[in-house]
Subunit: 138 residues, 2 copies
DNA sequence: CCGCATCCCTATAGATACTG
DNA sequence: CAGTATCTATAGGGATGCGG
């Protein structure tokens, strides 16, 4: 069990926000979950346009929080592969609920709509499959 | 359907973060959902200690996003009652998943543990009941 | 190239005092 | 009670540099 240095309170929502409550951390986790993006360069290419220094600091924080892990890339010695830990994968239900809320209240692209409809049709199944998939990669 | 001025992308996670992706907004929503706190003074008294200017700006933003609503307080003309809109209430599943994740990975107080165990025992029922409760208040 | 680190500037968060 | 006003601190953004 990871303990944080500075938790504002022992409320579960507050604690979660102390870990990943910023504009970028959940997008990195989204890339790893939904889009299978997993290198520094991949994250940089995402639509929101994160700055390099912010990306580096968020990756470091997520690693310290034991949500992601750095591994050597099979293709190239120069590359680093970022993967989710079990603790990171377990954020999937939260990410899905956050996504479904946005789907209900905002206009999304066709790509995302198709993805979310697929998930919504079998939420439990999607979560199980994702957890097994990523677990197998370790 | 509320449209935001500046959405970084049309990804559902990114969009949600553009709406409430900061260290305080979800705590205000938590107070309204879990703790039935609903005045400016109540929010100030919460354990995390939000500053008055931050609270005022977050309340304003949440109102603009149609997540909370300001109403006259029945007890006093000087008081304002903040309540969740339907759009706000629909964040409950996300809040619950975020809470359950924190419960799994961090040490919480007994109060919160008891609350979350009750929720976990009948998640669907809790969500339905909460939505009806708040809907009746409107 | 890839994965950062550094510098510099701006925008937002936060603490505190004060007000209608 | 429900906020402003003011000031300071930190986080974020853009350009560039640099070792492997």
């Amino acid at each position: 069990m990871t303990e944080l240095k500075k938790r504002r309170s022992n409320c579960p929502v507050s604690t979660s926000l102390d870990v990943f409550g910023d504009k970028w951390s959940l997008l990195i986790i989204r890339d790893l979950m939904y889009k299978k993006k997993c290198t520094y360069g991949d994250f940089l290419k995402s639509a929101e346009g994160i700055a390099t220094n912010i990306l580096a600091s968020k990756l470091q924080n997520l690693e310290e929080q034991d949500i992601i892990r750095r591994q050597p890339h099979p293709d190239s010695k120069a590359k680093i592969l970022y993967t989710l830990t079990a603790k990171g994968i377990e954020l999937l239900p939260a990410i899905i609920e956050i996504s479904l809320w946005a789907e209900k209240h905002y206009t999304l692209s066709e790509e995302w709509l198709a993805m979310l409809e697929k998930i919504q049709a079998d939420k439990e199944g999607f979560i199980k499959k994702s957890m097994q998939n990523i677990a197998n990669e370790i």
